[in-house]
Subunit: 489 residues, 2 copies
């Protein structure tokens, strides 16, 4: 450990929440706008989202999903068609009631009242379901696999950048199938895709599992989730995949002629992942110098900073360009020529989590060397020959990713508790610590108020079960099911 | 010309408007939704949009623009800051006034009235300008070049798929500059990018030019446009680029410290292109068999249809896969194995404008041949050897593109009239024809009502001017400026 000053004005241990905000600002990911609860995703933050989109979109297309686009607005009459669904979303929806503005006493006022108010989509099961009902006539038309990249609005009262905002960006996949089994398989397949993306691409620590019945998506039969663990021990629900049974098909009449000639309702699924993953990246991999980014989604792998002094410009710039040119295809790099001091540039890129920052002065130029700051290794410096760096940079990136992965695994090891057997022990644990607590559960919802008091929820019933016997933490009866309890974002 | 039955139920000459609708339905591009004026962009239509996005996005990034994302909602107080701007949009905006729903007498009603109503963005100059005002402190921070891919809402009373819908998808670029000259150059550069995209990528016929002052974007100093000519002789405004001067910078206070230490307002631009380009493609290249797509944005270049009969399946499918494998990288192809008749498949792909449709039966398989239907050549059939096709397909695609381009150029030649000198001649022309009429204009807006009566507008002052002298069509005075008059979408 070093005694140097950190790049962020506040550390994780001082105030995790303030640190989170400082890490976002320091990396220039996003900012608040003048619209309550709506954020601006700045170019560097958006570049991360674009890389996430590309990776997921390619995977979805490989699996046979097609992109399309559906209306932003949902008539209330349509929204009412699935009772549980509307119940789940009614409290947080933006409602359009007028279609123009008029000046009244010099002030703009809404005018032209709509006959039917429109909800701004919080999710699109019903709108896309309506289209599917038109598209699907026979079992031959199934499965239908649709995905949409778009904005959605949920009128959150307490907002937090990336984690909870009134408007956010996401992808929502919607599929319709002939049989229950096929739809369940689809929902599980997308759950696996998300788990791969979260664990292998983003290098987060995620526990895949099923949501308890009382915490499913509004209108779903089963909700699969990946619960990721943040450095403060809280859970962040990273992506969900829902098996919807025939609930939405009945609501909007998605019916088809079956192989035996009968009319059947389709079985549908939906699944989504959002810009909150950027928040998960910050809170999983960030340190007191800023964010850290896994190579797959880092906008730049290598930033080259010329240490310009008058007199050495041309030679140095040429050498920096030569370094850039020497790097293998697939390595995203820039030479930063901006008119600010090299020192400030360096700290900017440290806060932005660029894996390798190269400071190139006359010395490096003359010796054909590069001086590397390794972001994930506590800013460790290393000097090597230009060709050696080009030859090794892909391996160095793998090391970089491994450091991030090992670090979050180590955190999870310390923050996942398997030993708590009683409510008293649970209370005791959360008095001094915050983490994921794995306990047995009988499925009873009787004593959930105990969890409420501790601000805990059942995050999931992990897919991987220990298959041991024990006593339900809440009811004390015999139980075999493992669940994860945690505080959450 | 052939006497065969066409693939669409109605021809362009019978009813161009009904044909347009039939072409969209026939190609499965889009459909109406249950929300007034909002359409569903179906997978095939969206795949075309995705290709347009990729091409433009790559070009924007090459030119130094960065993507970002800004809020969907605009507080009315912000909207009021630019008087001309709000005037231009006030009549067609969706207004959010409530943030939840409540059940009243069993019916859902808007509840939770907002203190300040929010407009759903019709365009984002003010929202993005507000961010720019925060980002820009010094001339060193300039230029700022931002682009956003998003949905916007303009509450159109008369809607038409792709051409005019309450919600549409677009890209909006916004830049801020130190000097007027630099901003003007930027606006012109983006105008050139659009002209390249429209003419060279989409193979449309576009006339680049300046909008007359009375028809500029609300709040702009200058609006550049590309006016494309449709087969019915009407104009479609395809993309616009605006030099905004300091109007928006003053409205939202985008100020910077200049090189000489003074505080100056930035000079800004904005520019956009929308999903209506899909409509332009249909109306430019479509024929009575459906749409035609230029190769750059066609989701598939080659579709291979196996003429399956029981007994020949394995051999035939193998051969079809072999054809697909033989094609050069970059050729987008599929073997269509769907369980519908080969005859129906063929006509589906004809309506979808796939450049080359290959019908592969046992004969082709045994002789190692391919039978090609050339979409743009009036469905002309050709048979050649599999390796010959693979070797030639790129050249064939160039021919395909050239056919589309030549055809629209030929149309434009017949539909652009240079000979009209008087209002009587103008009236006479539009009694029997519809087209682009090029006349002289003094700049006077006195007699514009004559144009109104004929449903004509000044589409643009073409960038390329003849530099000849003549008389202003409207006022009769000496004039040198050429303008284009037309009916428009």
């Amino acid at each position: 450990m070093t005694s140097r000053k950190n790049a962020l004005p506040i550390s994780r241990s001082e105030d995790f929440s303030a640190w989170y905000q400082a890490a976002i600002t320091g990396a220039d990911l996003a900012e608040n706008s003048s619209v309550r609860g709506c954020m601006v995703i700045k170019p560097y933050g958006y570049a991360i989202w674009e890389r996430m989109q590309r990776i997921l979109d390619d995977r979805f297309k490989e699996l046979g999903h097609q992109n399309a686009y559906f209306p932003l607005f949902i008539p209330l009459s349509l929204f009412e068609k699935e009772a549980e669904h509307v119940e789940g979303f009614a409290k947080e929806m933006a409602i359009v009631t007028h279609h123009r503005l008029e000046k009244v006493d010099g002030k703009l006022k809404p005018a032209g009242e709509l006959e039917t108010p429109l909800a701004v989509r919080p999710t699109s099961e019903l709108v896309i379901g309506e289209s599917m009902a038109r598209w699907i006539k026979s079992y031959r038309d199934l499965p239908v696999r649709i995905n949409q990249w778009c904005n959605v609005v949920r009128w959150e009262m307490r907002t937090r950048m990336f984690l909870r905002s009134s408007e956010f960006l996401w992808q929502e996949g919607h599929t319709a199938h002939e049989t229950e089994e096929e739809a369940k398989t689809q929902a599980r397949e997308m759950h696996e895709v998300y788990n791969w993306f979260i664990s292998d691409v983003l290098k987060l620590y995620g526990i895949p599992g099923l949501k308890p019945n009382h915490d499913k998506f509004a209108g779903a039969v089963e909700t699969y989730t990946v619960e990721t663990i943040m450095q403060d021990g809280k859970a962040l629900q990273a992506a969900t995949s829902h098996y919807l049974g025939q609930n939405f098909a009945r609501a909007v009449d998605i019916r088809f002629q079956s192989r035996s000639g009968t009319q059947e309702y389709a079985n549908t699924t939906s699944w989504g992942i959002t810009t909150r993953m950027i928040g998960a990246l910050v809170m999983s991999h960030g340190d007191d110098d800023g964010i850290n980014l896994p190579s797959a989604i880092a906008p730049y792998h290598v930033v080259i900073i010329p240490l310009l002094r008058s007199g050495n410009e041309d030679k140095l710039i040429c050498y920096c360009e030569k370094i850039k040119e020497s790097l293998p295809k697939g390595i995203r790099s820039i030479v930063d020529m901006k008119d600010i001091s090299p020192q400030n540039k360096k700290w900017d890129y440290i806060r932005k989590g660029v894996p390798f920052i190269l400071e190139i002065g006359l010395k490096e130029c003359d010796q054909e060397n590069v001086s590397i700051i390794k972001r994930a290794s506590n800013l460790e410096k290393e000097t090597c020959n230009i060709s050696e760096f080009a030859a090794n940079v892909e391996r160095l990136l793998e090391q970089h990713d491994k450091i991030l992965k090992d670090r979050i695994n180590e955190l999870a090891k310390n923050k996942i508790n398997n030993t708590i057997k009683t409510i008293d022990e649970l209370k005791e644990y959360f008095r001094s610590d915050t983490g994921f607590v794995k306990v047995k559960w009988s499925g009873s919802t009787d004593n959930l108020s105990v969890l409420d008091e501790l601000s805990l929820t059942i995050r999931c019933i992990p897919t991987s079960q220990s298959e041991t016997k024990g006593k339900c933490l809440l009811s004390g009866v015999d139980a075999t099911t493992d669940i994860i309890l945690a505080k959450s974002y």
